[in-house]
C-alpha cells in the first residue's frame, strides 16, 4: 500500500487516485499505485537521496520530477527561475514535437531507460514523464 509520510511541508489540496497500469501477475494485493497530486502550489521538494524520513512512496519521486524539469528547462532554453513543475504541460511551455522527442531522448540518457514511441503518446506533462520513467526503471530492475 502506498503511504505518504513526512509530508508536512506539502500543500496538498487534492489527491487523485489512478490505479496502476502495471499488470499484477497474480498477486492479490496491489503492487504499486500511482497518485497524481494536483495542488495549486506545490513547492518543489528538495529530497536528500537515501533519506527515508521524507520519502513519498507514490508515483514519481520528487527528485525524478526535478530532474525532468531540469532537462525540460535546458531543452526549451527556459530561464532557471521559470515555473516548471510536475503539472507543466510540454505544449504550454512551448515545446513542439521535435523538442518533445529531444526531451525524451535526454530522459533516456539521464535515466538509462528506453521509451517506446507508443508510450510517448501519453506524456503531456512533466509528471507524466516522471511517472513513466519510474515505471520503466522499476521494470528494468524487476
Amino acid at each position: 500500500m502506498a503511504s505518504v509520510t513526512g509530508a508536512a511541508s506539502m500543500g496538498m489540496t487534492c489527491l487523485s487516485f489512478k490505479p496502476s497500469k502495471v499488470p499484477i501477475h497474480g498477486v492479490s494485493k496491489l503492487k504499486s499505485v500511482s497518485f497524481s497530486i494536483s495542488g495549486k502550489s506545490l513547492p518543489s521538494l528538495r529530497m536528500q537521496p537515501g533519506s527515508s524520513r521524507f520519502r513519498v512512496s507514490c508515483a514519481a519521486k520528487a527528485e525524478t520530477v526535478e530532474k525532468v524539469c531540469e532537462i525540460v528547462r535546458k531543452q526549451l532554453a527556459l530561464p532557471e527561475d521559470s515555473a516548471v513543475t510536475g503539472e507543466s504541460k510540454f505544449a504550454s511551455l512551448g515545446a513542439d514535437s521535435l523538442d518533445t522527442v529531444e526531451i525524451v531522448m535526454g530522459l533516456e540518457e539521464e535515466f538509462g531507460i528506453s521509451v517506446e514511441e507508443e508510450s510517448a503518446q501519453s506524456i503531456t506533462t512533466v509528471q507524466d514523464a516522471a511517472d513513466l520513467i519510474e515505471k520503466l526503471i522499476e521494470k528494468k530492475g524487476a
Partner: protein, 315 residues
Amino acid sequence: MMNIRCFQNNFSAASFPLVPVQLPSRMETHLWYVLPNEVKSMSLLSQYSELLSPCEKEDINCIRGDDLRKRALLARALVRTTIARYQINNQVNPSSLKFRKNAHGKPEVEWQDDDNLCPVPLHFNLSHTSSMIACGVTMNVAIGIDIEEKQRQLKNNVLAFSRRYFSPYEVKILTAISDPEIQHQEFIKLWTLKEAYVKALGRGFSGLPFKTFTIRSKPATTGSFNLSEDFVSKASEIIVESSDDPENLTNEWQFALLELAGSHYAAICMEKDKTVGGEANTPMKLTVWKTIPFIEDECVSGTDAVVAIGGLIKQ
C-alpha cells in the same frame, strides 16, 4: 492568380472582412502563413482573441510567457480565419467555427449544418515555430504539414538522434554527408517530411514511430506526362516506404518540400486523390499566401518567398 495586397492599418477588423477564396481543387494544396513578428498591434491581437471559443481562450490563458501566448493565439486566429475564407455553406464568421478531434486525435472542423447534409470534405493541418505559423488546406484528401526554422539547432548530436529515431536507410544517407551544415539541413528537411507524413495520417509521432518508415527521393519517372516550363522544382519525387515492406511502395501519398520566406523548411504531405485516374505522377498544385488576417493577404506563390526544393510541385 490575382495578387491581393491591401494595407489597412487604420481600419478595424470589422470594416475589412476576410477576402473570400475559392476552395482548392483536387490535388491542390493551399498554404497560408503568418509571421508573428509582423503582428504587433494590441488591438488586432484582441480582435483575434474575440474569434476564439471559451475553451481556446482558457487554453491560451494557461500558457505562460507573452510570446508563447501570442503564438498560440495567432495559430487559432489563422485556422479560423483561413477556413472562414472559403465561405462553406455561406458561413463566413470565423468565430462560429467549431472544432473537434477525430478518432486518432487529429483536429478537424465540426460543421454546423441544420440540413444534416454530408460533412464538407475540407481538410486542414497546422504547424508552427516561434517565428511562423502555417495552415495547409485541401479538399477531399488528407493533409499534413510541418515547418521548422532552417537554423533550428538540436540539443543532441544529429547522427545520435537519427540513429535513435530514423530508419537505417535514412541514417545511412545522413551519415554519408560530410559537411556538418549540409547534414544539419538535410536532417531538418527529413524531420519535416516525416512529421508531415504522420500528421497527414492523423496518427502523430507516437502512432507511427519514425523508424518504421523511410522517406527518400526518387528520380521522377518519365511517362506520358509533359514537364512544362512552370515547373520550379527539380523533377525528383519524394516517396515513403514502409520498413517492414520496402518493396511495396505506398503510392498513396504525395510530398512537397519548400523553403518558405527564406527562413523555414516546410513539408507538405497530401493524400493522392484516387478518383483522379492514371499512373502518371501528377504534380501537386500549390498556392501560398502570406497573411495578417483582416489586414493583409499576399499571394506569394512563384516568388522568392516560396522555393520548391523537393517533390513534384506546380505553383
